[in-house]
């Protein structure tokens, strides 16, 4: 079942019937090939537009910005959301449960979580991107500025004037 809406979905359905269930090859930056269903690949708006533009479906899509480990995890998400139906309450609950477990596992390995976030951004996988960025935002919640800098590997670059402003803001808040 192709994702999308209205005429686009109908057209995609027709195409799918015509071509059978097409498979698409995604290649990581390490040259490892991953074969996925078109429905799974269409979770990525980047790949979806390339497929719809009559792109090189047969040749596959090289993804120079994504390593194998990250791509495997991204595909796990796309398979679940692309290949499964989400029409009934139960189906939606199952997907929500999948998302919850998926993000909990990623959350335990922050560097990997950031890699998956970057890949979701690059591939324009909206659902996955929303899931990971929200998870990262949640980790910021209880942290001090110093803890946030450590967590994100950010260098302290505020000027004396910034510090003065921050102090000023603190006295008002």
């Amino acid at each position: 079942m192709a994702t999308g809406s209205g005429a686009a979905a109908a057209a995609a359905d027709a195409e799918e019937k015509e071509s059978g269930s097409r498979m698409i090859t995604l290649t990581s930056n390490e040259g490892k090939a991953f074969v996925v269903t078109e429905a799974s690949a269409r979770q990525s708006a980047t790949i979806r537009s390339m497929v719809d533009d009559g792109g090189c479906v047969d040749k596959g899509f090289p993804l120079p910005n994504v390593d194998s480990k990250t791509l495997a995890r991204v595909i796990q998400y796309c398979d679940e959301h692309g290949n499964k139906e989400a029409h009934t309450v139960d189906e939606r609950a199952a997907l929500a449960k999948f998302d919850k477990d998926f993000i909990a596992e990623l959350d335990a390995d922050k560097a990997f979580l950031y890699d998956v976030t970057m890949a979701a951004n690059y591939l324009h996988i909206q659902g996955l991107f929303a899931l990971t960025t929200q998870c990262i935002a949640d980790t910021i919640k209880g942290k001090t500025p110093e803890e946030i800098r450590t967590a994100f590997g950010i260098e302290y670059d505020l000027t004396a004037q910034d510090e003065e402003e921050i102090k000023e803001e603190d006295t008002h808040a």
Binding site: A111, M118, F129, T133, K141, G153, L158, I166, E169
Partner: protein
């Protein structure tokens, strides 16, 4: 755990900051003390517009926060409270934490030289057409309700409770709408802005509800069902949301 390269994160940092909770302003404040990039982003008008739009889809409209000078807490509510200012009860302070704008208003009770017993207020966003998502210090309204003593009256006599609506665009308060009811003293607790174009205040100890209609500028008392009067613990009201709607005034 390896930290990601900062230049990589820059691409998505805006999307992450967009998802910082709206109901905890200290979170955005702490994030803006992290580094220059975050600081500039969080103060950027375009970002603020996106931030508000993003959260408006999930949250009720809100303009300001309670700012209690005696407490370090800034607490958000559906319809935020304008706090009595430091200088006394004759002024109200309206604070927009996103822009840092502070405006002081002279309370209508003070204007009319009324001796108030107790008062409550709500800051409302004046929406219609423009969503004011990015305009700092955009138009707002303040609903103010106060119970006061009439000159020459004894304590026992039911004192009136009036409500006024302030418009930042005209800079004036509306004429008061007044009720005389034995339990209509507003309780200085957060009010609720409901989808029917009215603000709801609790009365003392939450016994009744004051409804201030923002279209008709009409104050009414919604009396609670009679419960044992000896029970002084007050009541609990739940406002059930039926349908979101924008505010009627402009």
């Amino acid at each position: 755990m390896a930290a990601p390269a900062p230049e990589l994160m820059d691409d998505v940092v805006e999307e992450i900051l967009l998802r910082l909770p709206l109901d905890d302003p200290s979170c955005a404040a702490r994030a803006s003390a992290v580094c220059k990039h975050w600081r500039h982003l969080l103060a950027d008008a375009g970002f603020l517009r996106r931030y508000r739009a993003f959260h408006r889809r999930r949250a009720p409209p809100r303009l300001g926060f309670i700012y209690d000078a005696g407490s370090p807490l800034a607490r958000p509510w559906t319809a935020a409270t304008a706090a009595p200012s430091d200088s006394g009860d004759d002024e109200l302070t309206v604070w927009d934490p996103m822009s840092g704008d502070v405006q002081r208003l002279r309370s209508p009770a003070d204007t009319l030289a009324l001796r108030t017993n107790i008062e409550a207020s709500a800051v409302l966003r004046a929406v219609s057409g423009c969503d004011h998502g990015g305009c700092h210090g955009g138009p707002f309204a303040v609903a103010f309700v106060a119970n006061y003593v009439m000159e020459g009256e004894e304590e026992e006599i039911t004192s009136p409770t009036s409500a006024w609506l302030y418009s930042s665009e005209t800079g004036t308060w509306s004429a008061p709408s007044t009720v005389h009811h034995h339990n209509a003293e507003p309780f200085p607790k957060p009010s609720v802005l409901a989808g029917d174009g009215a603000v709801y205040f609790l009365t003392w100890h939450g016994r009744n509800i004051l409804r201030y209609d923002l279209r008709k500028l009409d104050l009414t008392v919604i009396a609670s069902p009679e419960i044992d009067d000896d029970d002084d613990d007050g009541h609990i009201f739940f406002f059930l949301r039926q349908r979101a709607e924008t505010l009627p005034f402009q």
